[in-house]
Symmetry: C2
DNA sequence: CAGCATCCTTATCGATACTG
DNA sequence: CAGTATCGATAAGGATGCTG
């Protein structure tokens, strides 16, 4: 499992390396909107405007391009329902779910720790003088 | 633990809400550099320029302001060692470690799934015509 | 070594208008 | 409804030079 000390691990992908192909994908997942989109889709499949309402603050343009990136990475499935008016349903793929579950856990943890975070911020601001 | 169906949860913090105080903190943690900084600090405490080398691609300016945000949120401890030349050691607080562990798990998962991601990207590009 | 200040470039984002 | 296209504002980011 562990690599020999002093030798580079023979892991093919490394998010810490600037030009690793995993970097763009990481940014889609942890970027400002990508994570939130995966997070809301973790509860259930949603249509475009439903997503837009749930991910508070995202614009139409940004949501569209976020969804395209996540679809291209294989995290989100886009299903066109040819009714009138047109409907499109977005859902998580199995791969997307495995990622979203971890994100949701992170979000929940952060939310639960917010009192500690706010306290730390307050202490910091006191210390440096606002 | 769970809230009653149909009633809004009485959770004080919600990352999906635009003006929730947890949003900025979430962005520090999942932003382009914050997550990577927490990720490398998860292995061991590091000095400024060590961090800079490990988080491949980050500039001095951005690293400094990323560290300030993480310190203010209470995730990172900054220790000034008054030698000459000056040294500063950055380490995780217990709170920071709880977050970093989850991030590292997410990174490892993403790295392990990169073959599937690249395959999905390829399929997508085929389908739409590059 | 660690990091602030300045300038300047570039990417991101949001608003608006329009299409299938 | 679910987008695309275009434009302009704003913020993020990089390069350089300087300080304790």
């Amino acid at each position: 499992m562990a690599s020999i000390e002093g030798l580079a691990a023979i892991e093919p992908y490394d998010v810490f390396a600037r030009s690793c192909p995993s970097r763009p994908t990481l940014e889609h997942v942890t970027g400002r909107w990508g994570g939130l989109v995966l997070g809301v889709l973790a509860s259930r499949p949603l249509r475009f405007n439903e997503l837009r309402r749930r991910v508070d603050g995202v614009s139409q343009k940004i949501l569209a391009q976020t969804l395209q990136a996540l679809e291209r990475d294989g995290f989100v499935h886009r299903e066109l329902i040819s009714t009138f008016p047109l409907r499109v349903e977005y859902s998580l793929t199995p791969l997307g779910r495995s990622v979203a579950d971890r994100l949701v856990a992170l979000f929940a943890h952060l939310e639960s720790q917010m009192p500690a975070v706010l306290a730390a911020q307050h202490r910091y601001d006191e210390r440096v003088g606002r």
